[in-house]
């Protein structure tokens, strides 16, 4: 049995939130740099070059890449035999408060009816914590996300007629969603697709979580899903939307699709977008207390072990 203290999760999630807002995961940064090199459209190229410059400035100055640091979110995957001791919600709220003050993140969280801003990104049930019991891993995985609203709202979920041809329906739903957003979701995007699950919220969460899959643009283990992923990835990049919809070769940095069992008459499809500034940080805590910062190994200079 492995007991992880919530105080320790507070400590590392604070570091991860601060850092995620300033430095992109290396695979995302490399994908943007590649797009900048390969873009033939001069306007698109100017946009990509601004993105590269932005990544350099934010790293040098230690400031958030984007002013929209979103509503901070946490995902925890718990393997068998791992337990979290203490008040996890209080711990992640405290990490959010501290990261908001020290980074600083934008004071975002607002009461939905009165517009009162809590001032520290905590309140009325947020930050959200998505907890999953995952028996395919032997470490606790923590994901801290600072994800802006512009990409979030352009995602969507629909329920097709049960008899509709599956592949066509998925293809049309995804491509329509990409074309409707037309780059205003701060393209190039990571696109997350989910099919199945009961209730569109379930499907949307699955699509959203798939955005953080690593390696970026890697394929699903199910060959049928993997083939659809590749087809969608190629199709989206043929739309020519480019950065922010100004036209260009790269519209999609990665496409990840997930499936889940569903009601026989209800197979929802959800599409989620991550903006090019796909800010997340992932860490793993192992049985022996060792911590591995997967997306930001430089954080291992600050913490290597914990309880």
């Amino acid at each position: 049995m492995k007991v992880v203290q919530s105080d320790f999760l507070e400590k590392i999630s604070y570091l991860m939130l601060c850092h995620a807002s300033r430095v992109l995961p290396p695979a995302v940064e490399q994908a943007i740099r590649k797009a900048a090199r390969e873009e033939p459209n001069p306007k698109g190229k100017a946009y990509f070059q601004a993105m590269v410059q932005n990544m350099e400035i934010s790293r040098k100055r230690g400031v958030p890449l984007c002013q929209d640091t979103g509503v901070p979110m946490f995902y925890i995957d718990l393997p068998p035999g791992f337990f979290i001791e203490g008040d996890l919600r209080a711990a992640l709220e405290e990490a959010t408060r501290k990261a908001t003050k020290d980074t600083p993140l934008r004071q975002q969280v607002t009461h939905p009816l009165t517009n009162v801003n809590s001032g520290d990104n905590v309140g009325w049930g947020v930050p959200p914590i998505f907890l999953d019991y995952n028996n395919r891993i032997d470490y606790l995985e923590l994901l801290a996300v600072t994800r802006g609203g512009g990409a979030e709202i352009k995602g969507s979920a629909v329920v097709p007629i049960p008899g509709a041809p599956k592949e066509n329906t998925i293809m049309k739903t995804v491509l329509d969603a990409v074309a409707l957003a037309g780059g205003e979701n701060c393209s190039p995007n990571i696109v997350g697709v989910a099919v199945g699950g009961f209730g569109v919220d379930f499907t949307e969460n699955l699509a959203r979580k798939s955005l953080y899959r690593e390696p970026l643009n890697s394929r699903h283990e199910n060959p049928q899903v993997a083939a659809m992923e590749e087809k969608l990835f190629q199709a989206i990049n043929r739309l020519g939307i480019g950065p922010l919809g100004v036209g260009g070769k790269t519209t999609c940095l990665g496409l990840h699709m997930e499936i889940a069992g569903c009601h026989s008459a209800v197979f929802p499809i959800a599409v989620a977008f991550y903006c090019w500034s796909a800010r997340y940080s992932r860490a793993r805590i192992f049985q022996d207390g060792r911590v591995e910062f997967v997306t930001h190994p430089e954080l291992n200079k600050e913490i290597t072990h914990g309880k």
Binding site: N54, I57, Q67, N168, A179, G240
Partner: protein, 234 residues
């Protein structure tokens, strides 16, 4: 079509704007004001109530920046900008015609598109719409040299109106010019929709296929109202 690199200095007038073309890359020097959701609403309301003299700042010839920045208080020495990039402009569309007509800003700087109905208002009031690169908030913040003022602080750090002095503020691209060209319209009709048709065709997707059961129309939308009245008429 443009792609020239052009510098504008506030106050901006029609002479500086009339030669701009879609896709020209612009850098602005001078004064810009951040205007986001609550300040758009307040401005529109004051103008509606004929209370222009209660607006504590003058937008004439200045840059309006659709942005809710991250600001930090310097110990006893005012404010500094941490991160300040553009936000989606389309949600401000309802407020913009009145602001253009009564306050005459020089340029609007945002992200994405404005409703096509606003193109004529922009042309009529000699104002252009420029796009800043979404997500490049660290870059744009580095070009803000001074925080001159903060108006309507009661809206909070993000929604207050910040007056910034900027140098080489860009790159910004011309999205709606004074000839009434709109890159949004042009790109959709000439590139995106033809590409979409082609991709659908190659994938063997029937045109106008409708596979969706629910939602048929979006609750709360104008279409939902139309849908309901259509059933009534039938």
């Amino acid at each position: 079509m443009g792609n020239k690199e052009i510098h504008l200095k506030t106050p901006i007038d029609a002479c500086q704007l009339k030669n701009l073309r879609l896709d020209d890359i612009i850098y602005v020097d001078g004064t810009i004001f951040t205007i986001r959701d609550w300040s758009h609403q307040r401005l529109a309301q004051l103008l509606e109530e004929k209370k222009k003299d209660e607006i504590p700042f003058d937008l004439q010839g200045m840059g309006v920046f659709h942005c809710g920045p991250i600001m930090a208080e310097k110990e006893g020495r005012g404010w500094k900008v941490v991160s300040a990039g553009p936000t989606s402009s389309s949600r401000f569309s309802p407020f913009i015609p009145k602001i253009l007509r009564d306050l005459h800003p020089g340029v609007l700087i945002g992200k994405g598109h404005l409703d096509e109905s606003i193109v004529k208002d922009l042309v009529g009031e000699n104002c252009v719409f420029l796009q800043a690169v979404g997500g490049c908030a660290a870059l744009y913040a580095s070009q803000i040299k001074k925080v001159r003022n903060c108006y309507w602080p009661e809206f909070g750090m993000v929604d207050a109106v910040w007056e910034f002095e900027v140098e080489n503020f860009g790159p910004l691209s011309v999205e709606i010019d004074l000839q009434g060209n709109s890159s949004y319209r042009l790109f959709r009709s000439k590139e995106l929709l033809p590409n979409l048709d082609k991709v659908y065709e190659e994938a063997g997707l029937p045109k106008n296929a409708d596979y969706i059961w629910w939602p048929k129309v979006l609750p709360g939308s104008k279409e939902a109202f139309d849908h309901a009245t259509k059933i009534e008429e039938e």
